[in-house]
């Protein structure tokens, strides 16, 4: 896959929708494009994250095992960004990320990620929007859970 297809792929993601073309190209070029075969581990429980992953193609699955043996899984599809919370908060990544199909991911290394946040305002804005969106959903989920209880 060439740079053009990568860029087209990135443009399809809501996260990068508003990025100007030259910045999109920058993200595509600076990132490390990685291929994960189906069922391989992308991030394991014990990893200390050294970058964020943008899933370009394919499906991934989060899973978390609890100490009592139970656990939760849920899916994320192309266009998600993984690891940003862990990197930004400095906390350990909780859970494990598996490739369910063949996955093509763009890894933005930690230092590059922070540098982009600092130097590319459009990128910071896109990340903030995504975070805010997730916080909103989380609050919503908590509220619903409260009502159920």
């Amino acid at each position: 896959m060439t740079l053009e297809t990568d860029i087209a792929c990135l443009r399809g993601l809501s996260l990068f929708r508003d990025l100007p073309a030259s910045r999109l190209k920058l993200v595509a070029l600076m990132g490390e494009r990685l291929r994960f075969p189906a069922d391989s581990v992308i991030i394991s429980d014990q990893d200390r994250l050294d970058g964020v992953y943008v899933i370009l193609q394919g499906d991934v699955e989060f899973s978390q095992r609890r100490d009592d043996g139970g656990g939760r899984r849920f899916q994320k599809e192309a266009g998600s960004i993984i690891g940003d919370v862990s990197l930004l908060s400095g906390k350990q990544f909780l859970g494990k990320v598996l490739a369910r199909t063949d996955v093509l991911a763009l890894r933005i290394p930690k230092d590059l990620f922070f540098e982009m946040l600092r130097t590319v305002p459009e990128f910071s804005l896109a990340i903030s929007r995504d975070l805010a969106d997730r916080v909103a959903r989380l609050a919503n989920a908590l509220l619903t859970a409260g009502e159920e209880a």
């Binding site: 920058l26 494009r33 200390r48 656990g71 590059l112 989380l138 989920a141």
Partner: protein
Amino acid sequence: MESNLFRYIWQKSRGEQIIVLLIILVSIPFNWASFDVPKRIVNDAIQGGAFRDGRTTTTLMDVTLHAPSWLGGGSLKLFDGIQVGQLGLLIGLSGYFLLLVLINGAFKYVVNVRKGILGERMLRRMRYDLFSQLMRFRPEEMRAVKPAEIASMIKDEVEPIGGFVGDAFIQPVFLLSQALTALVFIMAQSFWLGSIALLIVLAQAIIIPILRREQLRLGRERQIASRQLAGRIGEIVDAGPMIQGHGATAYVQSDIAGRLGQLFDIRYALYKRKFAVKFLNNLLAQITPFFFYAIGGYFALQGRLDIGQLVAVIAAYRDLPPPIKELIDWDQQRNDVTIKYDQVISQFNSDDVLVLNEEKAVEPLPAAGEIQVEALQLLDNRGQPLLTPLSFKVSRPGVVAVIGPHGGGKDVLGRILGRQATSYTGRVLIDGEPLSSMSVERASHIIGYAGDEAEVIAGSMRDNILLPLQRHRPDLKAEGVVAPGGHRRFVESIRSGNSPFPFEADWTDYDGAGLGDRAALARRVRDLLDVFGCTEDIYNLGLGGKVMPPVSEEATQRIITARRAVARELARTERGDLIEPFVADRYNANATMAENLIFGTCTTSRFDSATLYFEPYAHAILRAEALIEPLSDMGSRIVATVAEIFAGLPTGHALFERYSFGANFDFERLNGLAETLAKHDMRSPLDQETECDLVALALGYIEPKHRLNLIDLRLQQRVLRARASFRKHLPADAVQDVEFYDPGKVMFGASVRDNLLFGRIGYGIADAEQKVSTVVHQALSRTGLEGTLYRLGLDTESGIRGRYLPARLRQVIPLMQALIKAPQIAVLDITGFLASSDDPLAIIERLRSYCSGMTLFLLLGDGSLVEDVPLRVAFHGPTGVVEAGALPRAANDALGQPPRLGSSQRMEVGS
């Protein structure tokens, strides 16, 4: 050290000085005789004094022993002598004179050589003594001295003192004996002439030293000024990059210029003085012969002095001024050197020096005991507290967590416990014994301290780690065979009061560290590396080492074997895509264009891609394969794309670095190229410089890395053809410049890793580096080459201040040093090391179990890592709070935080 130079010299070299003095005493009669003979030659042989009464022969070489008159005055004739005529007498006496000259010369030679050796020996001793004294300084004092000043004192300033030592007692005696001989001789010939000579000598001896007093003062000033200059230069060199960075070089240069000017002024004044004194001295010496000729001639005319005597007096006088002059010089030198010595000694004579060594072997502490810290306090030199009074107790063995920010009381407490700071008040009692009264040796056996700064000395990583164990005096008798010259070296070092133990011997203290032998030591090093999780780093260090010729046949074989093993391992684990190997007839997509073209390691800069365009041979090859145009096209497209992406980025440079095309293409240069290209008129050819740059850019291009889709199959084919002809037609003078890739040959100039992989790590595979590392590691352990690599890693040169080592290994060195000697108390500052480690919790865990038998003071910045340690000292600035009895560790909070949210939400947060 002895504060009086002469006493010091006499104490340390009495025997040798006496021997030389005796030799001088023996030489005096010969000296006298050599004055006497010319008189006899002139009077008896030339003027015929011996043949006055009509005798035609006289006796030569009769040897008669006269008993002194108080013994009765008898005499014993040993040899009757031979009868000679006037010519015979002349020849005989001249021969005798020649013999005396030779004898006197021989005496001078022996005395000078002995004096020289004596001086060198004393110089060696003095330097060693000064250095030993330095080693006894308190740690704070040692940190306060300027290295360059101390070095200049030990190296340069004592040098003239050493030269003087041989002369200190001998020279005055020798010169006085010479001068007195001459003077007495002159006196014996003529009292008047003798008195004149004596008078002038006395004048010299009185006036000159007075004039020289100022000279001495200037000399002392010069010494201090030049020492300070050395210190200042040393300081500036240390801070050099910072000074450059702030553009303060001109300011600093003017400081040095000022100091040089001051030095010049002193030296200028000194020269004026020196030559004025010299002039006066010469004048006085030259005036005396005037009196001799005038007055002596007058006496001779009157007949009160015969011609022979006059000639002898003048000859004797020739020998008088030099010793006097030298004697005055000696006095000058004495003053000079005494001042220098006082100057140097005052820097080294500190009132409280440490006791370095124990009388007996160091006894370890009992297995259990108690450490008490009582009202421990440390003030800085302005009276501000660095550590406010602190008291706590800990039973041995035990653990204390000392927590606080960098630069606060935590560091101070660590330094006190590690005996790096000694000017504290209060006490540290180890089983009731105050830490301050322990000898350095005892404390070093008991306490292992690792501070927050790694002090790496020159040598390999291993040398650095094992430094604390280098404390066992080598057994001098152990090796039966002494190397040639070894014995002499030994005797010589004893004579100079130096340490006779050879530096090359095995100083490792196996017993003191509880180790049986070398193998046990190697195991401990390995264990410690495992504790700190640095074993892998050592392997990587080994892998990063360059393979440089000469490499033995065996090593070559080993590298090739390992290379095959890596290839096999890759095939076995089905990770062939990790590495794209170098194959002679295949384009390696993960290597640069240049590498694909040359297909070898460049051992010189001749085929650097930046200037490849201008290299005639490479240029010819590129032209022959019609590659120049496509490459320069590629370059233009790269420039266009990169300029577009990075346009308008305020600090785009750092990002740009990641997308580099080789070392010498910075952002400005690319922008410049973009401008040139934009202005360029397509109809005319590009200028050579621009074309060279474009080609160089293209040569640094790697498709999977840069991903601009610029290389197609046709281009690859062309490059492969160029590769073949590049190799085929390589001129003879370029054979040394390129080392072609060959699976059966070692690549010189490349790292061990490159040699083993023999290919390029593929882009686009997650954590490829690490996976490759694992594979390489496995392959090596399969072929049994793991140990070699590990040793290679440990043998890596650490460079000045450890700059050849990765930060993590640099930081682990003090920790390893503290623990390698198996101390009973370990004081470890691991803040910096943990910051560069992935899994601090596990390291602390391993460290604590490794140190379970010791008392461990853990100095760290983050208290959450040691929550279960019962005794914690938390610092806020200089004030420490002792928290005893913290909560025991919870069973399952491995992540260090209690679960709060439901699992699904937590995942959302965690993602």
